[in-house]
Symmetry: C2
Subunit: 168 residues, 2 copies
């Protein structure tokens, strides 16, 4: 099955983390691949290091991608993430594979849409979860489950910054 | 801050689990109180038992609540969950408190709306997260962050049942 978590509201990455926790509790083998997030100090990554059945791969740089002018390294990293995802899916070693922020990488054209669609076809009996704003309508059409996280209200709007422990 | 995850789509409880994982990674003290879910075999609960800084309390019975005719025990359990939430908030012992499915308990009138609103006032400097469909508009008005998980597409509609490892 292919699951998509998209939309402008808070809760996309965190819901995939909850799915990981749930699957690990039942002894599943899980793989988390993060695009555009090469920072190992996030709270969730520290917590998840306790689990033996989980492998984590991170791609991207520590800098935010400039959406109007991505650097060459941003394209290279997105493609390396895609190569890893394809390898992992083909290995059939994992029951749950999470591709965090891949929707954004495709939206920013760091990765061609066709490559994301190709990954959907490789899911087989595994659960493939893809997160990030701006999921393409073709990916939505292909997926088995799609939740749009809709921002009804956010404290960012009233000036509260991103907070350690809550946003990362 | 008060955060609400509501709506008819998949991802409400799982996003609160992701927040728990993130907070624990930064050494926060966390409390998870689940309403209407007295089952300790859920994958996430098994996984979370690894963490020392987390306390979990569960209320409700193993049976689903009949929305048209809740049993006396359902009211008692919801009130016991609320008492625990109030005690935990007043203790100021935790930095993150998750009240899972409390919105549904209030929607089913197992718990008066006023009691949920009272908990919001006790959050203080802690992060209070409340999940479940049908969050009341007064709770939404009071909250600092609200995400509606909107179901765009769900495999339940094509006959796939709730699956261990993914739904529980």
């Amino acid at each position: 099955m292919v699951q998509i978590y998209t939309g402008n509201g808070k809760g996309k990455t965190t819901s995939s983390l909850g799915l990981i926790l749930r699957a690990l509790g039942h002894g599943w083998r899980v793989c988390l691949i993060q695009f555009m997030k090469n920072d190992w100090s996030y709270g969730e990554i520290i917590s998840l290091s306790k689990f033996e059945n989980l492998d984590i791969f991170k791609f991207g740089t520590k800098n935010l991608v400039d959406p109007k002018n991505p650097a060459e390294i941003d394209f290279k990293e997105a493609d390396a993430g895609w190569q890893k995802a394809r390898e992992v899916l083909k290995s059939a070693k994992y029951q749950l594979i999470v591709l965090d922020e891949i929707n954004v990488a495709v939206f920013m054209k760091l990765l061609p849409l066709e490559k994301q669609l190709e990954l959907c076809e490789l899911a087989g009996t595994a659960e493939l979860v893809m997160t990030g704003r701006y999921a393409d309508e073709k990916v939505i059409a292909r997926a088995d489950l799609v939740t749009e996280m809709r921002e009804v209200k956010h404290y960012y709007a009233s000036g509260t910054p991103s907070r350690e422990g809550i946003e990362f």
